[in-house]
Amino acid sequence: MEALSSFWKRNWVGYFFLAPWIIGLIGLSAIPMGTSLYLSFTNYDMFTSPSWTGLDNYTNMFEDRKWMNSIKVTMTYVFLGVPLQLLFALSVALLLNKGINGVRVYRAIYYVPSLFGGSVAIALLWRQIFGGNGLVNKVLGFFGIEGMNWISSPDTAIYTLVILTIWQFGAPMVIFLAGLKQVPVELYESSRIDGASSIKQFFSITLPLITPIIFFNLVMQIIGAFQAFTPAYIISGGSGGPLDSTLFYTLYLYQKGFTHFQMGYASAMAWFLLIGIAFITALVFLSAKKWVYYQD
Protein backbone atom coordinates (compact mmCIF):
# COMPACT_ATOMS: atom_id res chain seq x y z
CA MET A 1 0.00 0.00 0.00
CA GLU A 2 2.79 2.33 0.94
CA ALA A 3 4.74 1.37 -2.17
CA LEU A 4 1.71 2.20 -4.25
CA SER A 5 1.25 5.60 -2.70
CA SER A 6 4.90 6.49 -3.16
CA PHE A 7 4.72 5.23 -6.77
CA TRP A 8 1.74 7.49 -7.28
CA LYS A 9 3.53 10.45 -5.71
CA ARG A 10 6.47 10.11 -8.05
CA ASN A 11 4.48 9.49 -11.19
CA TRP A 12 1.11 11.20 -10.95
CA VAL A 13 2.02 14.21 -13.09
CA GLY A 14 3.06 12.05 -16.03
CA TYR A 15 -0.02 9.88 -15.80
CA PHE A 16 -2.23 12.90 -15.38
CA PHE A 17 -1.12 14.22 -18.76
CA LEU A 18 -1.21 10.77 -20.26
CA ALA A 19 -4.67 9.97 -18.87
CA PRO A 20 -6.74 10.67 -22.02
CA TRP A 21 -4.35 8.65 -24.13
CA ILE A 22 -4.28 5.73 -21.67
CA ILE A 23 -8.08 5.66 -21.45
CA GLY A 24 -8.18 5.63 -25.25
CA LEU A 25 -5.50 2.96 -25.42
CA ILE A 26 -7.43 0.68 -23.06
CA GLY A 27 -10.99 1.52 -24.09
CA LEU A 28 -10.62 2.05 -27.82
CA SER A 29 -7.61 -0.09 -28.71
CA ALA A 30 -6.71 -2.82 -26.19
CA ILE A 31 -10.18 -3.99 -25.17
CA PRO A 32 -11.57 -3.78 -28.72
CA MET A 33 -8.57 -5.69 -30.05
CA GLY A 34 -9.07 -8.43 -27.49
CA THR A 35 -12.79 -8.50 -28.22
CA SER A 36 -12.28 -8.65 -31.93
CA LEU A 37 -9.77 -11.48 -31.53
CA TYR A 38 -12.35 -13.36 -29.44
CA LEU A 39 -15.17 -12.60 -31.90
CA SER A 40 -13.05 -13.90 -34.75
CA PHE A 41 -13.50 -17.39 -33.23
CA THR A 42 -17.27 -17.02 -32.97
CA ASN A 43 -20.45 -16.48 -34.88
CA TYR A 44 -21.88 -13.14 -33.94
CA ASP A 45 -24.63 -11.03 -35.48
CA MET A 46 -24.94 -8.33 -32.79
CA PHE A 47 -28.45 -9.45 -31.79
CA THR A 48 -27.83 -12.89 -30.30
CA SER A 49 -24.83 -13.64 -28.12
CA PRO A 50 -21.71 -14.94 -29.86
CA SER A 51 -21.33 -18.71 -30.25
CA TRP A 52 -17.89 -20.30 -30.28
CA THR A 53 -16.94 -21.83 -33.60
CA GLY A 54 -13.19 -22.24 -33.17
CA LEU A 55 -11.15 -21.70 -36.27
CA ASP A 56 -14.15 -21.99 -38.60
CA ASN A 57 -14.11 -18.36 -39.67
CA TYR A 58 -10.46 -18.63 -40.65
CA THR A 59 -10.82 -21.88 -42.55
CA ASN A 60 -14.02 -20.69 -44.21
CA MET A 61 -12.19 -17.69 -45.60
CA PHE A 62 -10.08 -19.91 -47.78
CA GLU A 63 -13.18 -21.47 -49.27
CA ASP A 64 -14.87 -18.13 -49.78
CA ARG A 65 -14.33 -17.24 -53.42
CA LYS A 66 -15.37 -13.64 -52.85
CA TRP A 67 -12.73 -13.34 -50.14
CA MET A 68 -10.05 -14.86 -52.37
CA ASN A 69 -11.07 -12.45 -55.08
CA SER A 70 -10.92 -9.47 -52.72
CA ILE A 71 -7.32 -10.41 -51.92
CA LYS A 72 -6.50 -10.56 -55.61
CA VAL A 73 -8.11 -7.17 -56.21
CA THR A 74 -6.33 -5.58 -53.25
CA MET A 75 -2.96 -7.04 -54.24
CA THR A 76 -3.35 -5.73 -57.78
CA TYR A 77 -4.20 -2.33 -56.41
CA VAL A 78 -1.31 -2.24 -53.94
CA PHE A 79 1.45 -3.79 -56.02
CA LEU A 80 0.62 -1.99 -59.22
CA GLY A 81 -0.47 1.31 -57.72
CA VAL A 82 2.22 1.90 -55.11
CA PRO A 83 5.36 1.30 -57.25
CA LEU A 84 3.98 3.34 -60.13
CA GLN A 85 2.96 6.10 -57.76
CA LEU A 86 6.43 6.21 -56.22
CA LEU A 87 8.06 6.14 -59.66
CA PHE A 88 6.02 9.17 -60.65
CA ALA A 89 6.73 10.88 -57.36
CA LEU A 90 10.47 10.36 -57.73
CA SER A 91 10.58 11.42 -61.39
CA VAL A 92 8.73 14.64 -60.74
CA ALA A 93 10.79 15.34 -57.62
CA LEU A 94 13.98 14.94 -59.68
CA LEU A 95 12.64 17.36 -62.28
CA LEU A 96 11.72 19.90 -59.63
CA ASN A 97 15.10 19.50 -57.94
CA LYS A 98 17.04 20.88 -60.91
CA GLY A 99 17.31 24.27 -59.28
CA ILE A 100 14.66 25.93 -61.42
CA ASN A 101 12.62 28.92 -60.34
CA GLY A 102 9.13 28.52 -58.98
CA VAL A 103 9.69 25.12 -57.37
CA ARG A 104 7.32 26.02 -54.55
CA VAL A 105 4.50 26.82 -56.96
CA TYR A 106 5.04 23.63 -58.96
CA ARG A 107 5.26 21.56 -55.80
CA ALA A 108 1.94 23.01 -54.71
CA ILE A 109 0.30 22.26 -58.06
CA TYR A 110 1.47 18.66 -58.06
CA TYR A 111 0.38 18.23 -54.48
CA VAL A 112 -3.25 19.23 -55.08
CA PRO A 113 -4.44 15.74 -56.18
CA SER A 114 -3.01 14.27 -52.96
CA LEU A 115 -4.91 16.84 -50.96
CA PHE A 116 -8.24 16.05 -52.57
CA GLY A 117 -7.64 12.46 -53.57
CA GLY A 118 -9.29 10.64 -50.69
CA SER A 119 -12.50 12.65 -50.83
CA VAL A 120 -15.90 11.54 -51.98
CA ALA A 121 -15.92 14.41 -54.47
CA ILE A 122 -12.92 13.05 -56.36
CA ALA A 123 -14.26 9.50 -56.36
CA LEU A 124 -17.46 10.88 -57.87
CA LEU A 125 -15.46 12.78 -60.45
CA TRP A 126 -13.56 9.60 -61.32
CA ARG A 127 -16.83 7.79 -61.85
CA GLN A 128 -17.76 10.40 -64.41
CA ILE A 129 -14.37 10.68 -66.11
CA PHE A 130 -14.07 6.95 -66.77
CA GLY A 131 -17.77 6.38 -67.42
CA GLY A 132 -19.16 5.59 -70.85
CA ASN A 133 -20.01 9.21 -71.49
CA GLY A 134 -17.01 10.51 -69.59
CA LEU A 135 -14.14 12.87 -70.19
CA VAL A 136 -11.62 10.13 -71.06
CA ASN A 137 -13.77 8.79 -73.86
CA LYS A 138 -14.40 12.29 -75.18
CA VAL A 139 -10.67 12.91 -75.36
CA LEU A 140 -10.09 9.51 -76.98
CA GLY A 141 -12.90 10.25 -79.41
CA PHE A 142 -11.11 13.43 -80.37
CA PHE A 143 -8.24 11.27 -81.57
CA GLY A 144 -10.62 8.91 -83.32
CA ILE A 145 -10.34 6.13 -80.75
CA GLU A 146 -13.55 4.53 -79.61
CA GLY A 147 -13.74 4.27 -75.83
CA MET A 148 -15.73 2.07 -73.53
CA ASN A 149 -17.28 2.29 -70.09
CA TRP A 150 -14.14 1.75 -68.05
CA ILE A 151 -16.01 1.73 -64.74
CA SER A 152 -18.61 -0.86 -65.64
CA SER A 153 -16.24 -3.30 -67.33
CA PRO A 154 -14.82 -5.89 -64.91
CA ASP A 155 -11.56 -5.96 -66.88
CA THR A 156 -10.79 -2.28 -66.49
CA ALA A 157 -12.58 -1.00 -63.37
CA ILE A 158 -9.69 -1.80 -61.01
CA TYR A 159 -7.25 0.09 -63.23
CA THR A 160 -9.27 3.29 -62.90
CA LEU A 161 -8.64 2.96 -59.15
CA VAL A 162 -4.95 2.27 -59.75
CA ILE A 163 -4.77 5.43 -61.84
CA LEU A 164 -6.50 7.31 -59.05
CA THR A 165 -3.82 6.25 -56.58
CA ILE A 166 -0.99 7.05 -58.99
CA TRP A 167 -2.57 10.46 -59.54
CA GLN A 168 -2.08 11.17 -55.84
CA PHE A 169 1.70 11.05 -55.96
CA GLY A 170 2.03 14.47 -54.33
CA ALA A 171 2.69 13.39 -50.75
CA PRO A 172 5.59 11.01 -51.51
CA MET A 173 6.89 13.57 -54.00
CA VAL A 174 7.13 16.19 -51.25
CA ILE A 175 9.06 13.70 -49.11
CA PHE A 176 11.39 12.86 -52.02
CA LEU A 177 12.02 16.56 -52.64
CA ALA A 178 12.98 17.08 -49.01
CA GLY A 179 15.29 14.07 -49.25
CA LEU A 180 16.93 15.19 -52.47
CA LYS A 181 17.80 18.50 -50.84
CA GLN A 182 19.80 16.59 -48.22
CA VAL A 183 22.15 15.06 -50.79
CA PRO A 184 25.43 16.99 -50.36
CA VAL A 185 26.23 19.18 -53.39
CA GLU A 186 29.98 18.46 -53.00
CA LEU A 187 29.39 14.86 -54.07
CA TYR A 188 28.03 16.02 -57.40
CA GLU A 189 30.82 18.54 -57.88
CA SER A 190 33.63 16.09 -57.25
CA SER A 191 32.08 13.47 -59.50
CA ARG A 192 31.63 16.07 -62.22
CA ILE A 193 35.36 16.76 -62.07
CA ASP A 194 35.88 13.02 -62.51
CA GLY A 195 33.77 13.33 -65.67
CA ALA A 196 30.69 11.45 -64.54
CA SER A 197 27.61 11.96 -66.72
CA SER A 198 24.39 13.05 -65.08
CA ILE A 199 22.86 9.61 -65.62
CA LYS A 200 25.84 8.03 -63.91
CA GLN A 201 25.55 10.60 -61.11
CA PHE A 202 21.94 9.63 -60.60
CA PHE A 203 22.69 5.93 -60.25
CA SER A 204 25.88 6.25 -58.24
CA ILE A 205 25.05 9.21 -55.97
CA THR A 206 21.40 10.26 -55.90
CA LEU A 207 19.71 6.89 -55.95
CA PRO A 208 21.79 5.20 -53.22
CA LEU A 209 21.52 8.23 -50.96
CA ILE A 210 17.74 8.42 -51.18
CA THR A 211 17.09 4.69 -50.76
CA PRO A 212 16.10 5.29 -47.10
CA ILE A 213 13.44 7.69 -48.34
CA ILE A 214 12.24 5.29 -51.01
CA PHE A 215 12.00 2.69 -48.27
CA PHE A 216 10.03 5.01 -45.98
CA ASN A 217 7.61 5.97 -48.76
CA LEU A 218 7.21 2.35 -49.79
CA VAL A 219 6.26 1.20 -46.30
CA MET A 220 3.89 4.10 -45.68
CA GLN A 221 2.14 3.82 -49.04
CA ILE A 222 1.78 0.03 -48.85
CA ILE A 223 0.19 0.24 -45.40
CA GLY A 224 -2.10 3.03 -46.62
CA ALA A 225 -3.06 1.32 -49.89
CA PHE A 226 -4.11 -1.88 -48.13
CA GLN A 227 -6.65 0.16 -46.19
CA ALA A 228 -8.09 2.16 -49.10
CA PHE A 229 -11.87 2.19 -49.00
CA THR A 230 -13.62 5.36 -50.17
CA PRO A 231 -12.79 5.28 -53.90
CA ALA A 232 -13.84 1.63 -54.32
CA TYR A 233 -17.01 2.21 -52.34
CA ILE A 234 -18.04 5.30 -54.30
CA ILE A 235 -17.03 4.11 -57.75
CA SER A 236 -18.85 0.81 -57.37
CA GLY A 237 -21.75 2.31 -55.42
CA GLY A 238 -20.82 0.20 -52.39
CA SER A 239 -21.05 -3.13 -54.22
CA GLY A 240 -17.44 -3.71 -55.23
CA GLY A 241 -18.71 -4.45 -58.72
CA PRO A 242 -18.75 -5.01 -61.62
CA LEU A 243 -18.37 -8.75 -60.91
CA ASP A 244 -16.49 -7.96 -57.67
CA SER A 245 -13.64 -6.48 -59.70
CA THR A 246 -13.29 -3.53 -57.32
CA LEU A 247 -14.15 -5.45 -54.16
CA PHE A 248 -11.30 -4.24 -51.99
CA TYR A 249 -10.54 -6.28 -48.91
CA THR A 250 -11.74 -3.45 -46.66
CA LEU A 251 -14.93 -3.08 -48.68
CA TYR A 252 -15.69 -6.79 -48.34
CA LEU A 253 -14.95 -6.54 -44.62
CA TYR A 254 -17.39 -3.64 -44.38
CA GLN A 255 -20.06 -5.58 -46.25
CA LYS A 256 -19.60 -8.68 -44.07
CA GLY A 257 -19.54 -6.77 -40.80
CA PHE A 258 -22.03 -4.02 -41.33
CA THR A 259 -24.40 -5.11 -44.11
CA HIS A 260 -24.60 -8.85 -43.42
CA PHE A 261 -23.79 -8.43 -39.70
CA GLN A 262 -21.44 -11.43 -39.77
CA MET A 263 -19.25 -9.76 -37.21
CA GLY A 264 -17.31 -12.87 -36.27
CA TYR A 265 -16.29 -13.45 -39.85
CA ALA A 266 -15.48 -9.76 -40.35
CA SER A 267 -13.31 -9.80 -37.21
CA ALA A 268 -11.41 -12.80 -38.53
CA MET A 269 -10.93 -10.90 -41.78
CA ALA A 270 -9.61 -7.91 -39.84
CA TRP A 271 -7.05 -10.08 -38.04
CA PHE A 272 -6.01 -11.68 -41.29
CA LEU A 273 -5.53 -8.18 -42.70
CA LEU A 274 -3.40 -7.18 -39.72
CA ILE A 275 -1.23 -10.28 -40.09
CA GLY A 276 -1.04 -9.81 -43.86
CA ILE A 277 0.09 -6.19 -43.58
CA ALA A 278 2.57 -7.08 -40.84
CA PHE A 279 3.96 -9.93 -42.96
CA ILE A 280 4.39 -7.81 -46.07
CA THR A 281 5.87 -4.92 -44.10
CA ALA A 282 8.29 -7.38 -42.49
CA LEU A 283 9.30 -8.62 -45.94
CA VAL A 284 9.97 -5.06 -47.07
CA PHE A 285 12.02 -4.47 -43.91
CA LEU A 286 14.02 -7.65 -44.49
CA SER A 287 14.65 -6.75 -48.11
CA ALA A 288 15.86 -3.33 -46.95
CA LYS A 289 19.17 -4.87 -45.89
CA LYS A 290 19.83 -5.64 -49.53
CA TRP A 291 19.00 -2.32 -51.09
CA VAL A 292 18.71 0.46 -48.54
CA TYR A 293 21.91 2.38 -48.08
CA TYR A 294 22.50 4.03 -44.73
CA GLN A 295 25.18 6.67 -44.36
CA ASP A 296 27.18 6.42 -41.18
Binding site: R10, N11, V13, G14, Y15, F16, F17, L18, A19, P20, W21, I22, G24, L25, G27, L28, S29, P32, M33, L39, M46, K98, Y106, I109, Y110, V112, P113, S114, L115, F116, G118, S119, V120, A121, L124, L125, Q128, G131, N133, L135, V139, A171, V174, I175, A178, N217, M220, I223, F226, Q227, F229, T230, Y233, I234, G237, Y254, A270, W271, L273, T281
Partner: protein
Protein backbone atom coordinates in the same frame (compact mmCIF):
# COMPACT_ATOMS: atom_id res chain seq x y z
CA UNK B 1 49.64 45.09 -82.58
CA UNK B 2 49.05 41.73 -84.19
CA UNK B 3 49.07 39.89 -80.90
CA UNK B 4 46.65 42.20 -79.22
CA UNK B 5 44.28 41.73 -82.16
CA UNK B 6 44.66 38.02 -81.80
CA UNK B 7 43.91 38.02 -78.08
CA UNK B 8 40.95 40.26 -78.74
CA UNK B 9 39.51 37.85 -81.27
CA UNK B 10 40.16 34.94 -78.94
CA UNK B 11 38.34 36.67 -76.13
CA UNK B 12 35.56 37.47 -78.59
CA UNK B 13 35.24 33.82 -79.40
CA UNK B 14 35.07 33.04 -75.75
CA UNK B 15 32.34 35.61 -75.23
CA UNK B 16 30.37 34.17 -78.13
CA UNK B 17 30.67 30.60 -76.95
CA UNK B 18 29.81 31.65 -73.43
CA UNK B 19 26.72 33.41 -74.72
CA UNK B 20 25.53 30.50 -76.82
CA UNK B 21 26.16 28.18 -73.88
CA UNK B 22 23.97 30.42 -71.79
CA UNK B 23 21.25 30.50 -74.45
CA UNK B 24 21.24 26.72 -74.64
CA UNK B 25 21.02 26.56 -70.88
CA UNK B 26 18.18 29.10 -70.90
CA UNK B 27 16.42 27.20 -73.65
CA UNK B 28 16.74 23.98 -71.67
CA UNK B 29 15.36 25.77 -68.64
CA UNK B 30 12.40 27.11 -70.60
CA UNK B 31 11.68 23.69 -72.08
CA UNK B 32 11.81 22.20 -68.60
CA UNK B 33 9.33 24.79 -67.36
CA UNK B 34 7.03 24.14 -70.31
CA UNK B 35 7.24 20.41 -69.67
CA UNK B 36 6.49 20.73 -65.96
CA UNK B 37 3.58 23.09 -66.59
CA UNK B 38 2.11 20.83 -69.30
CA UNK B 39 2.24 17.76 -67.08
CA UNK B 40 0.68 19.82 -64.29
CA UNK B 41 -2.16 20.94 -66.53
CA UNK B 42 -2.85 17.40 -67.73
CA UNK B 43 -2.90 16.24 -64.13
CA UNK B 44 -5.21 18.96 -62.94
CA UNK B 45 -7.41 18.91 -66.03
CA UNK B 46 -10.08 16.63 -64.54
CA UNK B 47 -10.38 19.00 -61.59
CA UNK B 48 -10.42 22.13 -63.72
CA UNK B 49 -12.95 20.53 -66.01
CA UNK B 50 -15.16 19.64 -63.07
CA UNK B 51 -15.08 23.21 -61.80
CA UNK B 52 -15.85 24.67 -65.22
CA UNK B 53 -18.57 22.06 -65.83
CA UNK B 54 -20.30 23.17 -62.67
CA UNK B 55 -20.86 26.50 -64.41
CA UNK B 56 -22.06 24.95 -67.66
CA UNK B 57 -25.60 24.24 -68.75
CA UNK B 58 -26.44 20.61 -67.94
CA UNK B 59 -26.68 19.51 -71.59
CA UNK B 60 -23.33 21.06 -72.38
CA UNK B 61 -21.33 19.05 -69.85
CA UNK B 62 -21.21 15.94 -71.97
CA UNK B 63 -20.90 17.66 -75.30
CA UNK B 64 -18.13 20.05 -74.41
CA UNK B 65 -14.80 18.75 -73.15
CA UNK B 66 -13.36 22.22 -73.28
CA UNK B 67 -12.49 24.09 -70.15
CA UNK B 68 -14.51 27.12 -71.19
CA UNK B 69 -18.30 27.10 -70.89
CA UNK B 70 -20.14 28.72 -73.79
CA UNK B 71 -22.41 30.35 -71.28
CA UNK B 72 -21.88 30.73 -67.55
CA UNK B 73 -24.76 29.71 -65.34
CA UNK B 74 -25.20 29.16 -61.61
CA UNK B 75 -28.18 26.83 -62.09
CA UNK B 76 -26.22 23.78 -60.98
CA UNK B 77 -25.30 25.47 -57.72
CA UNK B 78 -28.85 26.58 -57.06
CA UNK B 79 -30.22 23.17 -57.94
CA UNK B 80 -27.57 21.30 -55.93
CA UNK B 81 -27.69 23.44 -52.80
CA UNK B 82 -31.34 22.49 -52.27
CA UNK B 83 -30.13 18.99 -51.41
CA UNK B 84 -32.53 16.12 -50.86
CA UNK B 85 -35.63 15.33 -48.80
CA UNK B 86 -35.84 18.90 -47.60
CA UNK B 87 -32.32 18.89 -46.16
CA UNK B 88 -30.03 21.29 -47.96
CA UNK B 89 -26.28 21.38 -48.31
CA UNK B 90 -26.29 24.21 -45.78
CA UNK B 91 -27.08 21.57 -43.15
CA UNK B 92 -24.39 19.22 -44.46
CA UNK B 93 -21.79 21.97 -44.36
CA UNK B 94 -22.85 23.12 -40.90
CA UNK B 95 -22.64 19.53 -39.62
CA UNK B 96 -19.22 18.99 -41.15
CA UNK B 97 -17.84 22.22 -39.75
CA UNK B 98 -19.13 21.31 -36.29
CA UNK B 99 -17.61 17.84 -36.52
CA UNK B 100 -14.28 19.14 -37.80
CA UNK B 101 -14.08 21.79 -35.08
CA UNK B 102 -14.70 19.27 -32.31
CA UNK B 103 -12.16 16.84 -33.76
CA UNK B 104 -9.56 19.60 -33.97
CA UNK B 105 -10.09 20.65 -30.35
CA UNK B 106 -9.92 17.02 -29.22
CA UNK B 107 -6.77 16.18 -31.15
CA UNK B 108 -4.89 19.31 -30.17
CA UNK B 109 -5.73 19.00 -26.50
CA UNK B 110 -5.34 15.28 -25.94
CA UNK B 111 -2.35 14.73 -28.25
CA UNK B 112 -0.44 17.71 -26.87
CA UNK B 113 -0.99 16.47 -23.31
CA UNK B 114 0.33 13.03 -24.20
CA UNK B 115 3.20 14.53 -26.17
CA UNK B 116 4.18 16.79 -23.27
CA UNK B 117 4.26 13.78 -20.95
CA UNK B 118 6.38 11.72 -23.34
CA UNK B 119 8.75 14.53 -24.22
CA UNK B 120 9.27 16.26 -20.88
CA UNK B 121 8.04 14.32 -17.86
CA UNK B 122 9.67 11.48 -15.97
CA UNK B 123 7.42 8.61 -14.98
CA UNK B 124 7.51 4.84 -14.76
CA UNK B 125 7.10 2.79 -17.98
CA UNK B 126 7.51 5.89 -20.13
CA UNK B 127 9.62 4.13 -22.74
CA UNK B 128 7.35 1.09 -22.89
CA UNK B 129 4.26 3.25 -23.30
CA UNK B 130 5.96 5.31 -26.00
CA UNK B 131 6.81 2.13 -27.89
CA UNK B 132 3.19 0.99 -27.57
CA UNK B 133 2.10 4.33 -28.97
CA UNK B 134 4.36 3.88 -32.00
CA UNK B 135 2.94 0.41 -32.58
CA UNK B 136 -0.68 1.61 -32.42
CA UNK B 137 0.17 4.11 -35.17
CA UNK B 138 0.73 1.22 -37.54
CA UNK B 139 -2.33 -0.86 -36.65
CA UNK B 140 -5.06 -1.06 -39.28
CA UNK B 141 -8.16 0.33 -37.61
CA UNK B 142 -10.17 -2.63 -38.87
CA UNK B 143 -9.10 -4.76 -35.90
CA UNK B 144 -10.82 -2.36 -33.53
CA UNK B 145 -13.71 -1.02 -35.58
CA UNK B 146 -16.17 -3.86 -35.02
CA UNK B 147 -15.94 -3.94 -31.20
CA UNK B 148 -15.94 -0.14 -31.18
CA UNK B 149 -19.15 -0.22 -33.18
CA UNK B 150 -20.64 -2.70 -30.71
CA UNK B 151 -19.60 -0.52 -27.75
CA UNK B 152 -20.98 2.68 -29.29
CA UNK B 153 -24.14 0.85 -30.19
CA UNK B 154 -24.56 -0.29 -26.55
CA UNK B 155 -24.07 3.31 -25.46
CA UNK B 156 -26.79 4.28 -27.98
CA UNK B 157 -24.38 6.61 -29.70
CA UNK B 158 -25.20 5.49 -33.23
CA UNK B 159 -26.51 8.49 -35.12
CA UNK B 160 -24.62 10.90 -32.93
CA UNK B 161 -21.20 12.45 -33.51
CA UNK B 162 -19.78 10.92 -30.32
CA UNK B 163 -18.19 7.89 -32.00
CA UNK B 164 -16.37 10.27 -34.34
CA UNK B 165 -15.39 12.91 -31.78
CA UNK B 166 -14.66 11.00 -28.57
CA UNK B 167 -11.64 9.07 -29.98
CA UNK B 168 -9.96 12.41 -30.75
CA UNK B 169 -10.33 13.51 -27.13
CA UNK B 170 -8.63 10.25 -26.18
CA UNK B 171 -5.63 10.89 -28.44
CA UNK B 172 -6.19 7.86 -30.63
CA UNK B 173 -4.19 9.31 -33.53
CA UNK B 174 -0.60 8.58 -32.56
CA UNK B 175 0.82 10.42 -35.57
CA UNK B 176 0.06 13.71 -33.94
CA UNK B 177 1.54 12.69 -30.60
CA UNK B 178 4.69 11.63 -32.43
CA UNK B 179 4.82 14.89 -34.38
CA UNK B 180 4.44 16.98 -31.22
CA UNK B 181 6.95 14.90 -29.24
CA UNK B 182 9.51 15.60 -31.95
CA UNK B 183 8.71 19.27 -31.81
CA UNK B 184 8.66 19.64 -28.02
CA UNK B 185 12.03 17.86 -27.78
CA UNK B 186 13.49 20.62 -29.91
CA UNK B 187 12.41 23.32 -27.43
CA UNK B 188 15.45 24.22 -25.26
CA UNK B 189 15.30 22.68 -21.79
CA UNK B 190 16.78 25.86 -20.29
CA UNK B 191 13.37 27.48 -20.74
CA UNK B 192 11.81 24.80 -18.54
CA UNK B 193 14.50 25.33 -15.92
CA UNK B 194 13.93 29.06 -15.92
CA UNK B 195 10.19 28.60 -15.59
CA UNK B 196 10.70 26.12 -12.77
CA UNK B 197 12.83 28.63 -10.85
CA UNK B 198 10.02 31.13 -11.29
CA UNK B 199 7.75 28.67 -9.50
CA UNK B 200 6.07 27.11 -12.51
CA UNK B 201 4.57 23.67 -11.86
CA UNK B 202 4.23 21.06 -14.60
CA UNK B 203 0.63 22.00 -15.41
CA UNK B 204 1.41 25.70 -15.72
CA UNK B 205 4.51 24.82 -17.70
CA UNK B 206 2.43 22.84 -20.17
CA UNK B 207 -0.17 25.54 -20.59
CA UNK B 208 1.93 28.71 -20.52
CA UNK B 209 5.28 27.57 -21.90
CA UNK B 210 5.14 24.40 -24.00
CA UNK B 211 1.80 24.94 -25.72
CA UNK B 212 2.62 28.45 -27.00
CA UNK B 213 6.10 27.39 -28.10
CA UNK B 214 4.77 24.28 -29.82
CA UNK B 215 2.28 26.33 -31.80
CA UNK B 216 3.67 25.33 -35.23
CA UNK B 217 3.20 21.64 -34.38
CA UNK B 218 -0.30 22.40 -33.09
CA UNK B 219 -1.17 24.17 -36.33
CA UNK B 220 0.13 21.20 -38.34
CA UNK B 221 -2.08 18.95 -36.22
CA UNK B 222 -5.08 21.20 -36.76
CA UNK B 223 -4.58 21.23 -40.51
CA UNK B 224 -4.24 17.50 -40.85
CA UNK B 225 -7.18 16.88 -38.56
CA UNK B 226 -9.18 19.25 -40.70
CA UNK B 227 -8.21 17.53 -43.96
CA UNK B 228 -8.65 13.99 -42.64
CA UNK B 229 -12.00 14.66 -41.00
CA UNK B 230 -13.25 16.58 -44.01
CA UNK B 231 -12.24 13.72 -46.30
CA UNK B 232 -13.27 10.92 -43.96
CA UNK B 233 -15.98 8.69 -45.26
CA UNK B 234 -15.73 5.30 -43.58
CA UNK B 235 -16.40 6.50 -40.03
CA UNK B 236 -19.23 8.77 -41.07
CA UNK B 237 -20.79 6.08 -43.22
CA UNK B 238 -20.64 3.68 -40.30
CA UNK B 239 -22.13 5.83 -37.58
CA UNK B 240 -24.39 8.38 -39.25
CA UNK B 241 -27.57 7.38 -41.05
CA UNK B 242 -29.91 10.20 -40.07
CA UNK B 243 -30.00 12.61 -42.98
CA UNK B 244 -30.23 15.60 -40.64
CA UNK B 245 -26.80 14.67 -39.29
CA UNK B 246 -25.24 14.00 -42.69
CA UNK B 247 -21.86 15.49 -43.44
CA UNK B 248 -20.85 16.84 -46.84
CA UNK B 249 -19.24 13.51 -47.77
CA UNK B 250 -22.39 11.57 -46.93
CA UNK B 251 -24.56 14.19 -48.60
CA UNK B 252 -22.59 13.87 -51.83
CA UNK B 253 -22.82 10.09 -51.73
CA UNK B 254 -26.58 10.19 -51.23
CA UNK B 255 -26.93 12.83 -53.89
CA UNK B 256 -25.16 10.57 -56.36
CA UNK B 257 -27.36 7.60 -55.50
CA UNK B 258 -30.54 9.63 -55.82
CA UNK B 259 -29.68 11.52 -58.99
CA UNK B 260 -27.90 8.71 -60.77
CA UNK B 261 -26.42 9.88 -64.02
CA UNK B 262 -29.05 12.49 -64.60
CA UNK B 263 -27.67 15.46 -62.78
CA UNK B 264 -23.91 15.69 -63.04
CA UNK B 265 -24.04 19.49 -63.08
CA UNK B 266 -25.45 19.74 -59.56
CA UNK B 267 -23.15 16.95 -58.39
CA UNK B 268 -20.11 18.75 -59.79
CA UNK B 269 -21.24 22.02 -58.25
CA UNK B 270 -21.54 20.48 -54.77
CA UNK B 271 -18.30 18.53 -55.21
CA UNK B 272 -16.54 21.75 -56.11
CA UNK B 273 -17.96 23.46 -53.04
CA UNK B 274 -16.86 20.56 -50.88
CA UNK B 275 -13.26 20.94 -52.07
CA UNK B 276 -13.02 24.71 -51.57
CA UNK B 277 -12.39 24.59 -47.78
CA UNK B 278 -9.59 22.05 -48.30
CA UNK B 279 -8.07 24.21 -50.99
CA UNK B 280 -8.28 27.33 -48.84
CA UNK B 281 -6.55 25.62 -45.92
CA UNK B 282 -3.88 24.38 -48.33
CA UNK B 283 -3.26 27.83 -49.77
CA UNK B 284 -2.99 29.57 -46.40
CA UNK B 285 -1.15 26.89 -44.44
CA UNK B 286 0.97 25.23 -47.07
CA UNK B 287 4.11 25.63 -44.99
CA UNK B 288 2.67 23.63 -42.09
CA UNK B 289 1.27 21.01 -44.39
CA UNK B 290 4.62 20.40 -46.06
CA UNK B 291 6.20 20.33 -42.60
CA UNK B 292 3.80 17.62 -41.48
CA UNK B 293 4.36 15.51 -44.58
CA UNK B 294 8.14 15.69 -44.39
CA UNK B 295 8.57 15.12 -40.64
CA UNK B 296 5.82 12.63 -39.99
CA UNK B 297 5.20 11.15 -43.40
CA UNK B 298 1.58 12.21 -43.02
CA UNK B 299 -0.59 11.88 -46.05
CA UNK B 300 -2.75 14.79 -47.06
Amino acid sequence: METSKATKSISNVRVVSNNSYRTIKNLKGILLHIFIISVGIIMLYPLLWMVSSSFKIETEIFRNISFFPTEITFDSYIQGWVGLSGVSFATFFRNTIFLVTMCIIGNVLACSMAAYAFARLEFAFRKVLFAIMLVTMMLPFHVTVIPQYIIFNKLEWINTYWPLILPKFLAVEGFFIFLMVQFIRSIPRELDEAAKIDGCGPIKMYWFLILPLALPALITTMIFTFIWTWNDFFGQLLYISDINLYTVALGLRMFMDAMGQSSWGALFAMSTLSLIPLFAVFIFFQKYLIEGITTGGLKG
